[in-house]
C-alpha cells in the first residue's frame, strides 16, 4: 500500500520533467528596461509620451515604477540586477553610482543633444567628476505661492511683488481674521523636506546663488550666519501662531499634500501655500477641473533686490547602466522635447528643453511656470537633493522637525553641521 503510494507520487512528480522544456524564448523585439520612482498615472503618461519612439523604431520600452525606489535601485544595482536605464530623482544618487563606476557616460551624439537642447545647468547637474551621465527629463519648479483666486478677489488682495508687500499682506490677512499660510511637513519617512525647501528659497534670496553653492558643498558651514539668518526669517513666519493655520502642531502633523486643503474650504481657512508645481495634483477634484479660474500662483518675491527672484527646482535624470544600441537610441530620444510633449500636454509635468512648445501645457498656470523655469536667470537645484544623504535626507529633515517642535536654531544648525560626513 505504501509502496504503491510512493510509486504514484514519483510518477506524478515525473510529469513536470516532461514539461521542462528550455528557457522562455528570447524576446523577438529588442527591449529596453527602465526603472523609476514615479508610478500610477504619471507612469502611464510617461509610457504614452514614449510611444512615438516605440512605433518608430520597433524597440519595446518597459517601464517599472516603485514607491520603494530608493531601496530597490541600490539592491538591484549591487545585486547585479541593474535596469538598463534608471530615472534618478536626486543628483546625489547619480554621484553615488558614478563613484561606484557602474554608470555609462554619455557618448558624443548624446552630448551633442545635451548641448543643443538644454541650458548648461542641466548638463552640470547630470555630471560627476567632469563626466556627464544624466539626461534630465521631467523637472519641477518650487518657488511658488498658490492662492485661492476667488477668495482673494473677494477680499481685495493683490499679488505681492516685493517681500515687504508680502509681509504687509500677511498682517492684512490676520486683521481680516484669516490665517495667511497653510503649512504641513509630515511625509512619513521623509517628514521635514517642506521646511528644507523654504530655507533654500530664502537662502537664494538673502545670500545669493554663489553662497548657496558654497552652502551645498559645505564650504560654507551649516551653522554660518547666512544660514542662521535664513532660519530667523523662516521663524518669523512659521513660528508665529497667528500667521499659520493651526499653529506648529498642524505644521508637524499635517501631511504635505493635505496641508493645502484649508485654502479651498468655504470660507478658506488660509490664504497662501508655498509649494512646487506638483501640488496641483493634490487640489480637490473640482478645483483641478477649473484650475485657471480657481487658483492663482505667484513667485515667492525677492528679499534682497540684488538677488532678484531665482528659481529653485528639482528633476529626474535618466542614467544608463547597460550599454546597448537600443538603449542608446532611447536615451537620445529622451534628450529631445518629443519625449516629453505628450506628458506635458496631459498636465502636471514641466520640462527643461530649450526648444519646447510652451503652448503644449494645458493651462496658463503651467505655461507660466514652465516659462519661469526655462527663462530663469538664476536656477538652482534643491539643495537637500545635492547635499550628502546623511544631511539632505537625514539631519536636515529631522532638524526642521526638531526646530519646529521647539529646539533652538543654534542647536539645530550645530547638529546638522556636526553630522556632515567628512
Amino acid at each position: 500500500m505504501k509502496k504503491a503510494f510512493v510509486v504514484v507520487m514519483i510518477a506524478l512528480l515525473l510529469l513536470p520533467a516532461l514539461f521542462a522544456g528550455g528557457k522562455a524564448e528570447a524576446d523577438a523585439a529588442k527591449t529596453v528596461r527602465v526603472f523609476g520612482a514615479f508610478v500610477d498615472e504619471e507612469a502611464r503618461r510617461f509610457e504614452e509620451a514614449i510611444k512615438p519612439f516605440e512605433e518608430r523604431t520597433g524597440i519595446k520600452v518597459i517601464y517599472e515604477g516603485s514607491k520603494d525606489f530608493e531601496t530597490l535601485i541600490e539592491v538591484r544595482v549591487s545585486g547585479g540586477n541593474a535596469p538598463d536605464i534608471a530615472g534618478l530623482p536626486q543628483p546625489g544618487l547619480m554621484n553615488t553610482f558614478a563613484k561606484q563606476g557602474v554608470l555609462v557616460p554619455v557618448w558624443s551624439k548624446l552630448e551633442g543633444l545635451l548641448n543643443s537642447n538644454y541650458a548648461p545647468v542641466w548638463k552640470d547637474l547630470g555630471s560627476y567628476g567632469g563626466t556627464t551621465y544624466g539626461v534630465f527629463h521631467r523637472v519641477n519648479a518650487k518657488s511658488f505661492v498658490w492662492y485661492p483666486k476667488k477668495a482673494w478677489d473677494k477680499a481685495g488682495y493683490k499679488v505681492p511683488t516685493t517681500w515687504d508687500e508680502l509681509m504687509r499682506l500677511q498682517d492684512q490677512m490676520v486683521r481680516d481674521g484669516v490665517r495667511p499660510w497653510a503649512i504641513g511637513i509630515e511625509a512619513g519617512g521623509a517628514t521635514g523636506w517642506v521646511g528644507t525647501d523654504w530655507v533654500e528659497d530664502i537662502m537664494l534670496r538673502t545670500a545669493g546663488p554663489d553662497v548657496y553653492d558654497k552652502w551645498v558643498s559645505n564650504e560654507l558651514p551649516f551653522d554660518a550666519p547666512e544660514v542662521k539668518k535664513a532660519f530667523d526669517i523662516l521663524e518669523g513666519i512659521w513660528l508665529n501662531d497667528s500667521y499659520v493655520y493651526g499653529g506648529k502642531n498642524t505644521i508637524l502633523t499635517s501631511s504635505f499634500g493635505d496641508s493645502v486643503s484649508p485654502l479651498f474650504d468655504n470660507p478658506p481657512k488660509a490664504m497662501m501655500h508655498r509649494q512646487g508645481n506638483f501640488i496641483t495634483g493634490f487640489f480637490p477634484d473640482d478645483i483641478q477641473a477649473n484650475l485657471e479660474e480657481e487658483v492663482g500662483v505667484f513667485a515667492l518675491p525677492a528679499i534682497d533686490p540684488a538677488f532678484g527672484i531665482p528659481v529653485l527646482g528639482g528633476g529626474d535624470q535618466f542614467v544608463v547602466f547597460n550599454d546597448r544600441p537600443e538603449v542608446r537610441e532611447f536615451m537620445e530620444y529622451l534628450a529631445t522635447w518629443e519625449s516629453g510633449e505628450l506628458w506635458a500636454k496631459a498636465g502636471g509635468a514641466l520640462f527643461p528643453y530649450l526648444n519646447q512648445d510652451l503652448n503644449a501645457y494645458p493651462n496658463a498656470i503651467e505655461r507660466s511656470l514652465a516659462e519661469a523655469l526655462v527663462n530663469a536667470k538664476v536656477f538652482r537645484f534643491d539643495a537637500s537633493d545635492l547635499m550628502p544623504a546623511e544631511v539632505g535626507a537625514g539631519t536636515f529633515w529631522t532638524g526642521i522637525v526638531d526646530w519646529v517642535n521647539g529646539r533652538s536654531t543654534n542647536q539645530v544648525l550645530a547638529d546638522i553641521q556636526k553630522s556632515w560626513p567628512r
Binding site: 507520487m9 512528480l13 521542462a20 541600490e74 512619513g188 493651526g246 498642524t250
Partner: protein, 369 residues
C-alpha cells in the same frame, strides 16, 4: 514438490539476481528522485506555461518533492550500517533547514559582520569605528532606550493580553467569534495599520472638527486637542499600543492552542481539591504551558528589537521615537553607508544574546531520546 525442486536448482541464479536487483534499486531510486526533483526545478524556473499550471506544479513539487527528498534521504541512510545510520538520521531531518538557513541568513550575517569593519563603500578597513558610532551616537542611544521600552511594554502587553483573552475565550460560549476579532488586526499589513491608527491619533486645531478618535474624546471633555506623536516621552507608548493591538492575536492563537493541550484530568483534580479558578490558572495551567509562554515572548521580544514599519511610517523616528531597525535602514539604504548599516545589524544580533541564552537554558531541560 515441484516447487522445492525449482527453488533448489535456481537458487544460485535467483539469489544473485535478487542481490543485483537490490543494488540496482538502491541506486535507481535516489537517481529517479534526483531526476524528478531536478526536472521540477528546471520547469519551475524556466517554463512559460500558464501561471495556474506553474502554481499547481509548485505545490505538488513543494509538498511531494520535499517529502520525496526526506524519504529518499532516509532510505539511503538506512542502507548504511546501523551505527552510521543512527548518526546520520538526525541530519536527514534538520539538514534541509540548516542548509537553507545557512545560505539565506547565516552567510549574509557573516558577510555583514565582515562589512561592519569597513567604511561606507566597503573599500577601507576601519576597525571598530562603526561599532563606536553605534554605541555612542546620540540617536543610537535614544534608539536603544526606545527599543527597551518596546520590548518591555510590547511583549508584556501582547503576551499578557493574549493570555488573558485565551483564558477567557476558552471559557466562553462565543469563543470562535471573539478569537477571530482579536486576530483580525494581524491580517492587516503594517501599511494598513498605519492608516487605521492615523484615524485614532490625528490632530486638528482647536475649534475644528476632530478627525482622530482620541482627540474627539479629549475635546468632548473640553480639553485642547493634542498632537499625540509629538509629546515626549509618551509618544513611544502610543506607538507601542499599535504593536500590542497587532500582536495580541498572535500570542492568543499560540497560547490558546497550548491551553487546549492541558490535560483536563489535572485541571479537574485541582478544582476538586477546592482550589479557586484563579488558583487553578496560576498554579496548574500556567506552569504547564510555561514553555509556550517563553516561546511566544521570545518571538515578540525579537519582533520588538526589529520593530521598523510602525515607527518609520508614523513618526520617522522624530520626536525621540527612533529605533534600531530604523537607524539600520537609513544607514544602509538612504545614506548608503554599508559599514554602519552592517554594524547596526550585528548589534541587533548581539542584543539578542540574552534571549538566546535563556532559550538554550530551556532547551537543555528538554528530554531527548
Amino acid at each position: 514438490m515441484k516447487k522445492v525442486d525449482e527453488s533448489g536448482s535456481n537458487s544460485l541464479i535467483s539469489t544473485s539476481a535478487v542481490a543485483f536487483g537490490r543494488v540496482a534499486i538502491s541506486i535507481l531510486i535516489p537517481l529517479i528522485a534526483f531526476v524528478v526533483l531536478w526536472g521540477g526545478f528546471i520547469f519551475l524556473r524556466d517554463s512559460n506555461a500558464s501561471q495556474g499550471v506553474i502554481a499547481v506544479v509548485a505545490i505538488i513539487w513543494g509538498v511531494g518533492g520535499i517529502a520525496l527528498l526526506f524519504w529518499v534521504a532516509d532510505y539511503i541512510v538506512n542502507k548504511a550500517p546501523l551505527n552510521v545510520a543512527q548518526k546520520l538520521q538526525p541530519f536527514v531531518f534538520v539538514g534541509p533547514a540548516l542548509v537553507i538557513l545557512t545560505w539565506y541568513l547565516f552567510l549574509p550575517t557573516m558577510r555583514s559582520l565582515y562589512l561592519s569593519f569597513f567604511d561606507a563603500s566597503s573599500k577601507n578597513f576601519v576597525g571598530l569605528a562603526n561599532y563606536i558610532y553605534a554605541f555612542t551616537d546620540s540617536k543610537m542611544l535614544e534608539a536603544f532606550g526606545n527599543n527597551l521600552l518596546w520590548i518591555v511594554l510590547g511583549t508584556g502587553g501582547s503576551v499578557g493580553f493574549g493570555l488573558i483573552i485565551a483564558l477567557l475565550a476558552d471559557r466562553s460560549n462565543f469563543e470562535k467569534v471573539f478569537k477571530s476579532i482579536i486576530f483580525t488586526p494581524m491580517a492587516i499589513s503594517f501599511v494598513g495599520a498605519g492608516v487605521i491608527w492615523r484615524f485614532i491619533y490625528a490632530y486638528k486645531p482647536m475649534g475644528e472638527d476632530q478627525v482622530g478618535l482620541l482627540n474627539a474624546i479629549v475635546t468632548f471633555f473640553g480639553a485642547e486637542p493634542k498632537a499625540w506623536f509629538t509629546l515626549q516621552p509618551w509618544n513611544n507608548i502610543f506607538l507601542v499600543i499599535i504593536l500590542i493591538w497587532l500582536q495580541t492575536g498572535y500570542a492568543m492563537v499560540i497560547i490558546s492552542a497550548a491551553l487546549k493541550g492541558v490535560p483536563s484530568a489535572i485541571i479537574e483534580a485541582g478544582r476538586i481539591d477546592g482550589a479557586s479558578e484563579f488558583r487553578v490558572i496560576r498554579s496548574i495551567i500556567i506552569p504547564y504551558i510555561f514553555s509556550t509562554i517563553v516561546t511566544v515572548s521570545t518571538t515578540i521580544i525579537i519582533l520588538s528589537l526589529k520593530i521598523f514599519d510602525i515607527v518609520f511610517t508614523m513618526t520617522n523616528g522624530n520626536y525621540g521615537t527612533e529605533v534600531i531597525a530604523s537607524m539600520q535602514y537609513k544607514q544602509m539604504f538612504r545614506f548608503y553607508n554599508y559599514g554602519r548599516g552592517s554594524a547596526i545589524a550585528i548589534v541587533l544580533v548581539i542584543a539578542v544574546i540574552p534571549v538566546m541564552w535563556y532559550n538554550l537554558h530551556q532547551f537543555r531541560k528538554r528530554e531527548v531520546f
